[in-house]
Symmetry: C2
Subunit: 360 residues, 2 copies
């Protein structure tokens, strides 16, 4: 039994893996694997439609939104968003609370006028900007935020401060579907699937209809959101297996009780690990300020790099994998996405307590 | 038992499906699915490296080439190639022999100066241009061809006519690894995996080192070939499962005897189906001129749309799927990629003979 704390690609629900395995050689009596099926088949079109419908149902969204299944990960979205929605002479605003927001902002600067509305870089990305410290410009083409920063372990609350009337765009790669939130306040949400949604290889985009129509029309066909919307994500061959897996995960979330159940489970898991940090008398030093703590990625340091190495190695021996911090910052990171079980979080918290007792 | 003639996503080797299924829940004793594994894990890095090495070995390529695993399909390559390699003031040349070449050419025209060197559109894409009918310009930034047109069923021979000194770029999505060829004559080859290589969701790019360095540097990071080359296709999260499957297919090709064995098998399969056309006294009318016939996609018409409908429906009842022609042209198309068995081709040829006898 392995406890999988990988930062993404990450743990998937065991029920979903079991089902994918059971039907891998013969999808629903077709005599073919899902891997061998045409994306124009009625079977795949049903999966594609179900994935959009299931996602919209979980988010409580209606006909004014579309769900698109794209490729290239969040990094491709960093470029496609300014390409499509940053008009010549216009500007966009970015709030940067960690490494991923930084990358999104850099790509936008390369492609047009992108302004840094707020950043917590000078505090080492430990917190969120105070809401009275910035004033969004209503004239911005859009305002971009990153709801959860996986590397620093900083997360915006589900209830956001007032962010003004410009179209709100969010990178939710690492906390999408981890809790209920008001999806209707966003013009565009994007998320690489490989955290809470499925395997790597598909990027889910939730986009408001009016924004689609505002996109530039002089771009390559494959780089326009309008192309994906008009063709139900079937303009060209989609990543069939990844979308199929996402749909299985969406059904699993629904079966578990939806986003409310996910939020309760995620809060319980994170509380145990944060308690192990807070009750360690400073042996573990959490990176994020308490008010900005992520429920998805818990980042902390030990008193020395040697102890961190020992921690990782003993954790590995105890069957806990994926706990090394991102190579750009080091330290420890426990990723507790939807599919990570309460048992895994319990095991980690207990291991942390014992390790602190032994070496603290 | 199903005979899978899907045009892509398409049949995969049964041995590969069986292996993927067997190890889906626990990859090599790690206690995790390949779907849950970090792309920075040593296991995935080994898969990524093996896939590059296996592909270069099959193609007989050395250190002057790189293999990249990208996303977005051939349609994304249609845009990325001119974006990277068509300099301001420069021009590229395109030879168009079917619908996919047409799309590649249209995208290039949108992005820079693309010239139509030769086209067989006015004959309905049935043939290849006579080699004395066009003269490639040595000053072109590159010359683009499509080695196999899946929709029309037209294929260039493995041994190409003299195409001049400009860097040769080829869309090989639908005949890559189906036969031995001189890979060293190409500056860039790209192929969506979902025909001969694996499932949908990864695009394989084989690129000569000197071309990588010639790419534009003012593009979004994720749109530069140099980014993928420098980071061994791990700049951002790759489509892990699709690359894993591609590597299994590469090993299968090697085990079968490499590209020579593929070519022999593919020639045998296609010969049977073309014989069923040629010996039908005109009941079946092949689309491609005999000299341009594709060994991958065999396209033909029946005397009436009603008979085509009946053909598809009776074929389906006999366990043969994926035979409808592309929705843009209609008719019948049998795709006989590497993983389609000799038994399936035999069954189809026999069915065609019987059908012609009954309705001819």
């Amino acid at each position: 039994m392995i406890h999988n704390f990988n930062p993404g690609p990450a743990a998937l629900p065991p029920e979903v893996i079991a089902r994918a395995q059971a039907e891998l050689a013969d999808y629903h009596g077709t005599g073919m694997s899902i891997l061998e099926m045409s994306h124009r088949s009625k079977e795949y079109e049903a999966i594609n439609a179900a994935a959009e419908a299931n996602l919209k149902a979980l988010l409580g969204l209606g006909d004014d939104y579309r769900v698109l299944f794209m490729q290239g990960g969040a990094s491709m979205q960093f470029a496609l968003i300014p390409l499509n929605f940053l008009p010549t002479g216009g500007f966009a605003e970015y709030i940067v609370t960690g490494s991923w927001g930084e990358k999104a902002f850099e790509e936008a600067q390369r492609l047009g006028q992108a302004r840094l509305l707020a950043s917590t870089a000078d505090q080492g990305y430990r917190s969120l900007p105070e809401s009275d410290s910035f004033t969004p410009d209503p004239q911005a083409a859009y305002l971009h935020i990153t709801t959860n920063e996986t590397i620093q372990g900083v997360q915006w609350p589900a209830e956001l401060p007032q962010l003004g009337p410009a179209p709100l765009v969010a990178d939710m790669s690492s906390d999408f579907l981890s809790r209920p939130f008001n999806a209707g306040q966003f013009a565009l949400i994007y998320a690489g699937a490989q955290k809470n949604l499925g395997p790597a290889g598909v990027t889910v985009v939730v986009i408001r209809q009016d924004l689609i129509e505002r996109g530039r029309k002089d771009l390559p066909v494959i780089m326009r959101y309008a192309t994906f919307a008009k063709n139900n994500s079937l303009y060209n061959t989609p990543p069939v297996f990844a979308v199929y897996m996402v749909n299985l995960v969406l059904e699993w979330i629904k079966d578990q009780g939806g986003l409310t159940a996910m939020a309760e489970r995620n809060a319980r898991k994170a509380a145990m690990v944060y308690a192990a940090i807070d009750e360690s008398n400073g042996f573990y030093a959490g990176h994020a300020a308490p008010a900005a703590r992520s429920l998805m990625n818990i980042t902390f340091r030990l008193p020395s790099p040697e102890l961190e190495k020992k921690f990782l190695s003993e954790a590995q021996s105890a069957g806990m994998v994926g706990l090394a911090g991102h190579r750009s910052v080091g330290g420890i990171r426990a990723s507790l996405y939807n599919a990570v079980s309460v048992e895994s979080a319990t095991a980690l918290a207990q291991f942390m307590q014992e390790f602190a007792q032994r070496y603290g």
